[in-house]
Subunit: 295 residues, 2 copies
């Protein structure tokens, strides 16, 4: 999807948040905001928001001289999510439908998004879990269950640090042996990288690869050749979060998007109410590869 | 108070809202946003936010060729507020303390702020009234009651269209004979002008003047000489809304601010929680002029 004019104030706010996170001097924050404003004057709206965000955050890293401004935030988010893991496992054990519960929890974890909520507390995260377990889940169906049951090679595209702890539960239910997890190739916002996969020990249960890109989404033309081969060879791609939705919603591939529609622009693009917990897929013919899932 | 970096994304969003309100062509919206971004690169943060907003909205009116982009919105807000007037009068009649209830209602009306909430419904407005009548009112005191009781010349600085219907009730309780109401000198956002004072018949019960300025606040150096004389001659100035607070909080004068602290920057400047309904005053010595109010 393309960048909208509504995305621009959000980019400026993100730049300011990042500046404040890594520099204490008000004049540095001001310099960065003016610089991003200057850059935004010439913004190319035909590109997707994550491509714009990629450029802004590259630029911010250059300006700040900090290659991973959100490192401390990500560490905090990983730790916070890990403390909730026993509680989530208990919910899974109590559930008569572990796949559905795992899907709900994976989407609950998508609240950990510093592009949208720059200060998330453990209480808000717990509230998000409760809500995800009780709210309507838009788009879940027996067809998707069959697709998930029957896929042989699943590529799981993660989104944020912390959130990957929630993803772990779904990967366990799917069966890690048929799953490859992909994280971002380099730090951008609080998106999970291989450092995070290692920090929450995801790499101990499943194959973890990185996509070779520093975009907060999956820009295929920016990803490594190895990742692209994996993408093409998979018969099911589970893509977490808004950034993956923004970058892959036009790609003809067997992708199921799992996300919270936090921003009004994305909710509108997905044709769901803002705030919805969503499973979304396009291109039914691409799922024919999944053995036995036939539409 | 000065403009903060947090104000900038908000200015961009306001510019986009205004563009969409008055022009249908997406390329015009884009042109305006790029233009305001360009302008924002060189923004002078030593000025108050309403001075910045004044410049942006002047510029928007010039770009759009529409001298009163919010006219239809203001008409709607006036009508919506007038439909609630009987209900508010009933609440006043039931109240054992009509001054306090009128103050609460006047602050309730301050929710009608297109700089903050661009799409307010009648249901949200009614909810705001209920909340204003039950929530804590920060800063109200017997001292302020005495100040309001004893003032001889009250200048009442309005904020938004629609909101002035709520102000009318407070002006009636204060006694219109000692009150002069000041509206903005020219359209800016949905701030009330003499057109609105006339539309809700405020001018039938009280003297209405305009301040000669098109800023969404009270920039004294931009106001007419007549307004400034009135300002200096008043022994109590009741100033509604965030814009008046932003522009007058540093002015040594007997001003009591009545507003909802809708934005985090203003809440922080007023040292109240965001969302508070607030009466705020500074410079106690300036109230000595009010006969009998002595601190």
């Amino acid at each position: 999807m393309k960048t909208t004019l509504d995305c621009i104030p959000c980019f400026i706010r993100q730049a300011l948040d990042t500046a404040r996170m890594v520099m204490t001097d008000q004049s540095d924050h001001e310099r960065i905001v003016r610089d991003v404003l200057h850059w935004a004057v010439g913004i190319d709206l035909d590109q997707s928001p994550p491509r714009m965000a990629q450029r802004i955050h590259r630029h911010l890293r250059q300006l700040t001289g900090n290659q991973d401004p959100y490192r401390a935030a990500k560490d905090y988010q990983n730790r916070m999510a890990l403390t909730l893991l026993p509680n989530m496992r208990a919910k899974m054990a109590d559930s008569p439908d572990s796949l559905l519960t795992a899907v709900r929890l994976a989407i609950a974890g998508n609240i950990i998004d510093m592009g949208v909520h720059s200060k998330l507390t453990a209480a808000q995260l717990q509230a998000s879990i409760q809500q995800a377990l009780s709210d309507e889940l838009v788009g879940y169906s027996e067809f998707l269950r069959r697709v998930m049951d029957n896929a042989r090679r699943i590529l799981y595209l993660t989104d944020n640090a912390g959130e990957i702890v929630f993803d772990r539960l779904l990967i366990e239910v799917l069966g890690p042996e048929r799953v490859t997890v992909a994280v971002r190739g380099a730090p951008v916002i609080n998106d999970a990288t291989s450092v995070d996969a290692h920090a929450v020990k995801l790499d101990e249960i499943v194959a973890v690869t990185d996509n070779g890109s520093d975009a907060p989404g999956t820009l295929l033309d920016d990803c490594s050749a190895g990742f692209k081969r994996q993408f093409t060879a998979s018969d099911l791609i589970l893509a977490k979060g808004q950034g993956n939705f923004e970058t892959l919603s036009d790609v003809r591939a067997p992708v199921v998007f799992l996300f919270q529609a936090k921003c009004p622009v994305i909710a509108s693009h997905a044709r769901v109410p803002q705030g919805s917990h969503v499973l979304k897929w396009f291109y039914p013919e691409t799922f024919n590869r999944v053995n036995g899932s036939g539409l």
